[in-house]
Amino acid sequence: MHRNHEQITTDCYSYLSALGEWNTVYKVVFSVGALVTVIAADSVGISAVTLFFMMFLSVGVGKIPGRDYFRLMKVPAAFILLGGAAIVVQFGSGDGSLFRTGFFWTNLFITESSLSLGLHVTLKAFSAVSALFLMTLSTPMGEIISVFRKIRVPVLILELMHLIYRYIFILSETNQRQKDAAGSRLGYCDLTTSLRTFSGELANLLIMSMKKAETYYDAMEARGYEGNALFWEEKRPLTAKQLLYGGLYLAILAGAFCLVWRRG
């Protein structure tokens, strides 16, 4: 939507998604419910079903461009791949392994169970991320915070969340300008200069933000803030269509559970 904030990856989709109209609490319950189901069920079938259904909701129904969706999925990939590797590869004597190689004084090896656990965990992680994406790619931060209010998170924390969310973008915009200005003065000409420039930018960003904080408070107070900020929350009706998708997911889950259970 805009050139700034490229490093803040998911935010812009939450304002564009066709799922934005959905009832916020329902959406969060749906997403977190699926998330908990995936990790509690701990089953390949449930993970796979959830992964595909959540992708269908975000991309198919929510109209998030598929290419962007997979690009976002790559973000947690570093951790998931490394973590997966650590689970798959065992060391020790390595009896009954599929593959074994000497490594210093010990052996690295992969067993059938470690391989299947690794693949299983990787699938589960991607599935859980897709469930999280259902919420994050369709719910603007202000609405997520409104759900926290409903579950009685202290007002002080809510207020901090609102302000931090806003300030994140102000600071990152400022930093983009800092980077351009420093770059134009050859601040990134070599590595040592770059590191010095980078830390100089951050120090200045901190000072600037601390100095601005007072003006920001004044502006809030001038608009009637009395130590307990109230924020507008949109009312989003729960429709039959939204419930239908939830029902569909539950039906598929039930089917998958039956299959898993019958197989033993």
Partner: protein, 234 residues
């Protein structure tokens, strides 16, 4: 070249390929879906006393002066932003600071616990780093354990009259390192090895993340010192 060396080089090469494939080396956030429910809950519960202490200290600060709310929020946003910025590098790979050490030194460990959990939540929501169910575990390692150790070392070095900047370096470096160790142990508890159990598994997780995390910890230490020097002159 012995076969051992070959294998070592091979595994290092394999790792760098993995690192090359993965565009972003963030600090150690345990990803969504990685922990079973009992661990999610256990780590969450373990955070509660620290978070309550943090909440009370923030609350007291605000009672003294209501205007601190925007300052605190700025501090939180600042921690988020430094953790989302790419550290300049020649190789083109990107890495990010954790900001835990700097945050603890600047704002104190109790405020950082609350700001930290908010920042971690935002990282999960806005950057797809970490997750909701793993929030407890991540908060414990990155917003509580790391900052507490950093702050402790920072104070200790001050008391022992160790060179101030060396103290800051140690605080940030060890805080980062500690975070990475705690995360590895958290993962090991969730995924113990068939042979050797949790200990062996912890060694594996430490080993697998070492190539990204060790240089990052050193860089974090250096950058924290540079930032503190720049701030000191004000």
């Amino acid at each position: 070249m012995t076969t051992k060396q070959k294998k070592l080089i091979g595994s290092v090469a394999a790792l760098s390929v993995v690192l090359g494939v993965t565009p972003n080396a963030y600090a150690m956030h345990i990803m969504e879906g990685y922990l079973a429910p009992q661990y999610c809950i256990a780590w969450g519960v373990l955070c509660i006393p620290f978070l309550v202490t943090g909440y009370l200290s923030i609350n007291k600060k605000l009672k003294e002066n209501r205007k601190n709310i925007t300052l605190l929020a700025m501090a939180g946003a600042f921690i988020f932003v430094i953790s989302s910025l790419k550290i300049p590098s020649v190789t083109g790979s990107c890495s990010h600071m954790t900001g835990t050490g700097l945050g603890a030194i600047l704002f104190g460990p109790s405020a950082v616990s609350i700001l930290g959990i908010i920042v971690l939540l935002f990282q999960a929501i806005l950057l797809a780093h970490g997750g909701l169910t793993t929030l407890g575990a991540n908060t414990f390692s990155m917003a509580i354990a790391g900052p507490l150790l950093s702050y402790g070392i920072f104070r200790l070095c001050k008391k022992l009259n160790i060179n101030q900047y060396f103290g800051i370096f140690l605080a940030a470096f060890l805080g980062d390192l500690f975070t990475y160790c705690v995360t590895s142990v958290q993962l090991a508890i969730a995924y113990p090895s068939a042979q050797g159990g949790i200990m062996a598994s912890a060694v594996k997780f430490l080993g697998v993340f070492a190539p990204t995390q060790l240089p990052l910890a050193v860089l974090e230490g250096i950058l924290t010192v540079l930032i503190m020097i720049a701030l000191k002159t004000y």
